[in-house]
Symmetry: C2
Subunit: 329 residues, 2 copies
């Protein structure tokens, strides 16, 4: 990530600026997830073995990091740094200190991205406080990507803001548009609002109130508001590239569809391999990837590979620049 | 349906009481649905041809009913009654008069059940006013059935109450339990509350407040509250037989999963054919089946067959009796 691409106000440490080209240093929260640390250690090993330019910062109990190193070829140990976290008085605060420390490592330039399968709320709060939010972002949303026959669809929010107001939903639309443009290379993304029917008067209070505000919103990347969409449109991907919803509905739909695709195989898509079962936190000054609490080892590995790819493409800085430029219009 | 099984306060017409055994008289709303009347006529024909004991009351434009009769073997015309509806001043009120008239036919004993693919709100309101609600039911929920590897799962509400309060959600739980017991023959159904995480503090305001009330609720059919479930549990069916949610979330998840199953094939289930893509309105004194607005001809046919089956099993009366008996405890 070149210094010129960084967000204003976020300092770049000499270590980060000096990172070798192609290298991605990922801080992995060993304590996050229902089956932590075992599943996280497994996923980190898979990721490490698949990507020789990956460096891992293992944040968590010393024993889990030791277990990881025991399983890794000693010739590769130079790619791994341990950041031991000692158990605190309360299990909860100990677990959450893992993601806080991982975020801090990114803020201090010791890592390029964070990956956690831990509590979403703790991750969002840690990232917002530790990395800072982009101007105008109140509650950073989590953006997931679903495979569709048409390609890839960005669904947000999927668990960060469960009772959002209109302004937060409008921010989701702007951030989602930037995501589709930068990460999926979609020119002029179509942004839809998820609801339960396209007739007038359908939907809950929030959805009935939102369409005029979204239609009037200036969106980055030449994106346009494509109107109301329904659950089936998230599967087909034919109406919108980005689907905006509250974190409650989005999380439930995401988990339902991911389970269906796990059971039946994903829709055959033109863009190759299915996207990782991991979400990107948008609107914070750093790359933060969130895996499901119930993530498998391969899911964690895919989340780490996703974080490394985003870092190598300087995707978060590019999105931030788009949002900034669009705000200036 | 024997008179003794009817809800108190609902009169039974001599016609209905005199219905031949096995016969099912279904009032079909020809005007309901995005592609009405063509798709409804197609579906009604398919249903008629598949079930020789089916009688149809075709409610809608005379031309659509004529089109239906033209396509049907004249020897079968005795199984069809036309109930013409003349266009009103406003298209909207004309369309809604279709479902109102179909409901009225059931209330007056001229039909055993209603099938409509029209506006959900209009159907729910027509049914609540025309047939009456069961005691304690404020807003009748729509219950859909999804195939799972474990069998069949009842999801409710899927579009009737988009901003429900706690009491309405508790009613969903009771009605859903009765549905699983009566229609799916599940002894002691497990009833789950759909949310986005099982840790304390997860979910929106409604979901955080509800669990104690649901845990304390007396449920019919020996049902038990099985706690919080997530989107993936609706796919697997391993945690709950009945999943309770608001109509907004339920509709989005239902449409998403149905689209996924249409694309990829439904999960292989132990119980044979996949359930119809149609929902039953619960808590009203009559059998009202709602198809999607975007229903296909086969979907409408499946909805009609479903309504006929429910009538033949006197399922709605059996559910009402269960709810009554449980209220008496």
């Amino acid at each position: 990530m070149a210094p010129a691409q960084r967000r204003p106000g976020v300092s770049v440490s000499p270590q980060l600026a000096a990172g070798e080209p192609g290298t991605a240093r990922i801080a992995v929260d060993l304590l996050g997830g229902d089956s932590a640390p075992a599943v996280v250690v497994d996923g980190a090993l898979r990721a490490c073995q698949a990507d020789p330019a990956l460096h891992l910062l293992l944040v968590g109990p010393a024993e889990a990091a030791d277990e990881f190193l025991d399983a890794l070829d000693p010739a590769e140990h130079g790619r791994v740094t341990r950041m031991p976290i000692a158990p605190g008085e309360r299990v909860e605060s100990w677990v959450e200190s893992g993601v806080r420390s991982a975020v801090l490592a990114v803020a201090q330039g010791e890592a390029d991205a964070v990956v956690s399968a831990g509590n979403t709320g703790a991750t969002v709060t840690s990232a917002a406080l530790g990395l800072g939010r982009w101007p105008g972002v109140r509650r950073p949303p989590l953006a997931a990507v679903l495979p569709t026959r048409a390609g890839r669809l960005v669904l947000l929010d999927v668990g960060s803001s469960v009772d959002p107001d209109e302004e937060t939903m409008a921010t989701h639309a702007r951030l989602g548009a930037a995501y589709a443009y930068v990460v999926h290379d979609v020119a002029a993304p179509a942004v839809g609002l998820l609801t339960i029917g396209t007739e007038r008067g359908k939907g809950d209070r929030l959805r009935r109130a939102l369409p005029p505000a979204l239609a009037a919103l200036a969106l980055p990347g030449g994106a346009r508001y494509a109107g109301l969409v329904e659950g089936n449109d998230v599967v087909t991907g034919t109406v919108a590239d980005v689907v905006v919803t509250d974190g409650f509905t989005g999380n439930i739909l995401l988990k339902g569809l991911e389970a269906a695709y796990a059971e039946l195989g994903p829709p055959s898509t033109a863009t190759g391999a299915p996207p990782p079962r991991a979400a990107l936190l948008l609107g914070v000054a750093g790359t933060v990837v969130v895996c499901h609490g119930a993530a498998s080892g391969p899911d964690v590995a895919a989340g780490i590979a996703f974080a490394a790819d985003l870092h190598r493409r300087a995707a978060v800085a590019a999105m931030a620049d788009m949002i900034d430029a669009q705000r200036g219009v």
